[in-house]
């Protein structure tokens, strides 16, 4: 099958649950012999939040307004492309042209948000559409928006997400769910063929080099035993941590702490977790790493005395639960975190959020017996197993193709047709006005225009300059030309990417001076870069 997998973020270097799942499912399809192309459809600001790798194919929607709006209302990051498309503010002609070149038979949407962009194309080309849901987005986003937007905005944007997702559920030929509960939910909404592909993980492996680095960090902090918590900068991770462990870790004895890994560290920092009255206590009781690689995460997991799963909110299921079970380490979890893995709940100490702290102290103070439960069922938790099942089932469903007609019948756009786009756009602009970041963005306009030729907040400009400088220094010692070009492209996403590509060719990136010229040129003056590079090319050919 020729399969086009559409994702909303780059998955080449997956660090978080969502990208990991997309990446694993892609690998399974490739392994099953299908021709799979993964296209990340997003926009500059959103992609910059994740970072791309060489293997990512990214289509950036060329819209300055989209980027500006995201900077003002980051919580709406996912749904903005659909809203702008429906409001006729962005053109996706080039995107469809790219899809057409590939001629997919199956289109897998890893999130519902981009469906309005692809719907007409899929109907016209009679493509088998698979909604690969990671959770029930409409309920998750409703909760998220309620906590971040004004009531009116929260309502209208929740309705938009709900409308898009319901429309996709109506239109899709098949639905992939992560839990039985999700399948039941969608089964009631639309009698579609569906498949449950639970979230899984690879069996964690200890890496000696990572273990050495980790041990030195633990020694510095004086941790003799630690609990392990990994999570992305995703609202439910923060909420779960706060409701189970509170805002101060005084309850932990000295020399025992929590190793916090992943973007959730940033979320905690934003909440002032390491500041204020208990800031010092929390600093002394935690060790955090923002973007550790998989080796480090797995090593830290295997060295922990307790693995924490303090999840109280969210939808779908959690990859980290599968990973924790596969690690065979003692687990302290909420009942909620074992949704989708209820067969394995006996492996963990299940605690209510209010008892979580005491349970953690008990587990850290007493030597926990490693799990000796039979491992016979554990293969269902691995991507190797789940991915294989998924590939076979998807092929089976594709062969029958019986539900395509359902999509043709629902041409009327169902719920989306009745959605009040004008009100959503009006609220979106108001949202921007009410966002404190806007003033900052406006103030920084001149600086950012001078440096990058487009509007950015001061923080973003500064961040980019620092990254630029980092690349500049690494450029002078880096031997791999392609890596350098990758880095440049990652930084200069958006409307600058074409420029970057034009400048940062392999020819120019072959020597240190060429790289220096590229970076300085992009940073300060493109004309200068052009001149310098053409002179260098001339001198080389001479």
């Amino acid at each position: 099958m020729r399969i086009l997998q559409i994702v909303g973020y780059p998955i080449g270097r997956p660090l978080q649950g969502g990208p990991k799942r997309c990446s694993a499912l892609r690998k399974a399809l490739v392994h099953a012999g299908h021709c799979v192309r993964t296209l990340c459809v997003s926009y500059a600001n959103s992609v910059a939040n994740y970072g791309t790798s060489r293997s990512d194919e990214v289509f950036l929607i060329p819209s300055k307004e989209l980027n500006d709006t995201e900077a003002m209302a980051p919580v709406l990051e996912d749904v903005l492309p659909a809203l702008f498309f429906l409001s006729k503010e962005i053109d996706v002609g080039k995107l469809m042209a790219r899809c057409e070149r590939f001629r997919p038979e199956v289109l897998i949407l890893e999130h519902p948000f981009l469906w309005p962009l692809f719907r007409d194309y899929c109907i016209s080309q009679r493509i088998f559409v698979v909604y690969s849901s990671h959770n029930v987005e409409s309920s998750l986003k409703r909760e998220l928006y309620a906590g971040s937007l004004s009531p009116e905005s929260a309502e209208i944007f929740s309705r938009l997400v709900s409308a898009i997702e319901s429309q996709l559920v109506l239109d899709a030929s098949a639905i992939i769910c992560v839990t039985e509960a999700d399948r039941k939910y969608w089964g009631i909404k639309a009698k579609k063929r569906s498949l449950v592909v639970p979230n899984a993980s690879d069996r964690p492996v200890r890496d000696e080099e990572s273990a050495r680095v980790l041990q030195s960090l633990l020694d510095k902090r004086g941790f003799k035993r630690y609990a392990f918590f990994v999570g992305s900068d995703h609202d439910p991770n923060l909420v779960g941590f706060a409701s189970c462990l509170g805002d101060n870790l005084s309850f932990l004895p000295p020399h025992k702490g929590i190793l916090v890994m992943g973007g959730v560290r940033n979320a905690l920092a934003r909440q002032g977790f390491w500041e204020g009255l208990y800031g010092n206590v929390n600093q002394a009781r935690t060790l955090s790493m923002v973007s550790p690689d998989d080796k480090m995460v797995e090593t830290a997991l295997l060295g922990a005395s307790v693995v924490l799963l303090p999840i109280t909110r969210g939808a779908g299921s959690n990859l980290k639960t599968a990973q924790a079970i596969l690690s065979a380490k003692p687990i302290l979890a909420t009942e909620f975190s074992f949704r989708g893995y209820s067969d394995f709940a006996a492996r963990a100490r299940i605690s209510k959020p209010e008892d979580f702290r005491m349970a953690l102290v008990e587990m850290l103070e007493t030597e926990q017996i490693p799990c000796t439960c039979a491992e016979e069922n554990e293969e269902v938790l691995t991507w190797q197993y789940q991915g294989g099942e998924y590939a076979v089932a998807l092929e089976e469903m594709f062969k029958t193709r019986g539900v395509l007609s359902a999509m043709e019948k629902s041409r009327a756009m169902g719920q989306l047709e009745h959605f009040d786009l004008k009100q959503a756009m009006r609220l979106l602009h108001n949202q921007g006005d009410a966002t404190p970041g806007k003033a900052c963005a406006n103030n920084a306009t001149s600086t950012s225009h001078r440096v990058f030729g487009r509007q950015q907040t001061f923080g973003q400009v500064r961040f980019r300059i620092f990254r630029m400088m980092a690349v500049l220094f690494s450029a002078l010692s880096e031997d791999d030309d392609a890596v350098f070009i990758d880095e440049i492209q990652r930084i200069l996403v958006g409307d600058s990417i074409a420029t970057a590509r034009r400048y940062a060719t392999v020819d120019h990136a072959r020597d240190s001076w060429g790289r220096l010229a590229i970076v300085l040129g992009i940073l300060f003056s493109r004309r200068f870069a052009k001149r310098l590079l053409s002179r260098m090319t001339r001198s080389r050919s001479a």
Binding site: S250, F251, P253, P254, H255, L277, Y278, N280, R357, M358
Partner: protein, 394 residues
């Protein structure tokens, strides 16, 4: 054997005040005891070390002097006799009465000592006000205090609190933060006069004359002690009593968040001649200040105990105190209280005792009759009584 930590006293520069004063008073008593060994923390060795005989002699002579001095710097030299598993055993008790906050290494070292030797750790905690009223401290200090307090509570096997109120605060804090269950016992601090009788008389005669007398307040000039209220009250008193207005003598070092207040007091033409600040006052001058005052006033928002109230009463001086926290524990109905947030109330009671000296005299007579000063030796023996009563030492 009890290891008594005098590190805070040895670090202190100038006449002991506040916590160093408590350690000095206890040290005076403990010097005679064979069951006590004095220890201090050596930053260089990151260990507790015993004071040698020479250092103990210097400490003794310092403590008996009115103005303690260590001319040879002997006490600042670090001894070689380390507190470790060879010299300290699980039968020993580490008694700390100092200031562990802001000193991460000290707390770590105490934890290490306990882990290595298994000794029993008992710590005297004066208050937990930085976590209760963080707004009255300099930026960053409450977090530093909270960190040390939490660690200390985890390390300690037993805690002494200087008042029932502090004991309650500690128990609430431990319950709220789910910090184990450490036994807390109250020990009452001594308040007996600082000087021998002969020196007391000298102090009395050395007093400076004030035209209309003065009201005394003792305590660091910091936001929590609420000197602002006294400033406002004295402004009103200067207007109502005019030339008969007494002075306000503030004895204390400058502390947190009061720079503006001190500037205001010095610049205000209404009161700048009436309010006097004396810092680094030695025992003799302080004794004199108490004995020559009309009465004392203590408007603090919150206290761990309120030693100046007790010291005032021990010298037969009436005190007007704030009605919050531990301050009612000291003297019950022997003194009068006011709301530290109400200038009107404070003004009313202060002016009442200034206008009607006969009421003041009645109160003073009552204090002399009923108030029993607490000698420091009783406080010192209270520690041992607790240790023996619980079977920790014999």
């Amino acid at each position: 054997m009890v290891l008594f930590d005098v590190e805070t006293l040895l670090r202190w520069k100038g006449p002991p005040a506040g916590i160093p004063r408590v350690i000095a008073q206890l040290s005076r008593q403990f010097l005679q005891s064979r069951r006590i060994r004095f220890v201090t923390y050596s930053q260089r060795k990151h260990a507790f070390v015993f004071l040698n005989k020479g250092q103990k002699r210097v400490l003794a002579s310092m403590l008996s002097a009115a103005t303690p001095r260590d001319p040879g710097g002997m006490l600042s030299q670090e001894g070689d006799n380390l507190c470790d598993s060879k010299t300290v055993s699980r039968k020993d008790i580490f008694l700390g009465c100092g200031v562990p906050w802001g000193r991460r290494q000290y707390v770590d070292c105490l934890a290490k000592l306990k882990e290595e030797t298994g000794c029993f750790v008992s710590y005297l905690i004066y208050d937990i006000i930085p976590v209760l009223l963080p707004q009255t401290y300099g930026s960053g200090l409450p977090a530093i205090f909270a960190e040390a307090l939490v660690d200390l509570l985890w390390i300690s096997d037993h805690i002494f609190a200087i008042s029932e109120n502090t004991k309650r605060d500690l128990q609430n804090f431990m319950q709220f933060n789910q910090i184990g269950s450490v036994a807390v016992t109250t020990v009452r601090l001594g308040d007996s006069p600082f000087l021998p009788v002969r020196q007391r008389a000298a102090a009395f005669s050395a007093a400076r004359e004030y035209a209309n007398g003065y009201v005394l307040t003792v305590g660091t000039i910091e936001a929590r002690k609420n000197h602002r209220l006294l400033y406002e009250v004295w402004r009103r008193l200067s207007l109502s009593l005019k030339t008969k207005c007494p002075s306000l003598l503030i004895v204390g070092r400058k502390g947190w968040l009061t720079n503006d207040l001190v500037v205001q007091m010095k610049a205000d033409p209404l009161v700048n001649r009436l309010i006097e600040i004396q810092s680094d006052v030695d025992d003799q001058r302080l004794e004199s200040a108490y004995r020559n005052s009309l009465f004392t006033v203590y408007p603090s928002f919150y206290e761990g105990w309120g030693l100046p109230i007790a010291e005032s009463l021990a010298r037969g001086k009436f005190c007007l105190a704030s009605n919050s926290s531990s301050m009612r524990e000291i003297a019950g109905d022997l003194i009068e209280y006011f709301d530290p947030y109400s200038i009107d109330q404070a003004y009313a009671v202060i002016s009442k005792y200034l206008r009607y000296p006969q009421i003041l005299r009645r109160k003073e007579a009552q204090i002399r009759r009923r108030y029993r000063p607490r000698p420091w030796d009783m406080t010192a023996s209270e520690f041992f009584r607790q240790f023996e009563g619980r079977g920790w030492i014999t």
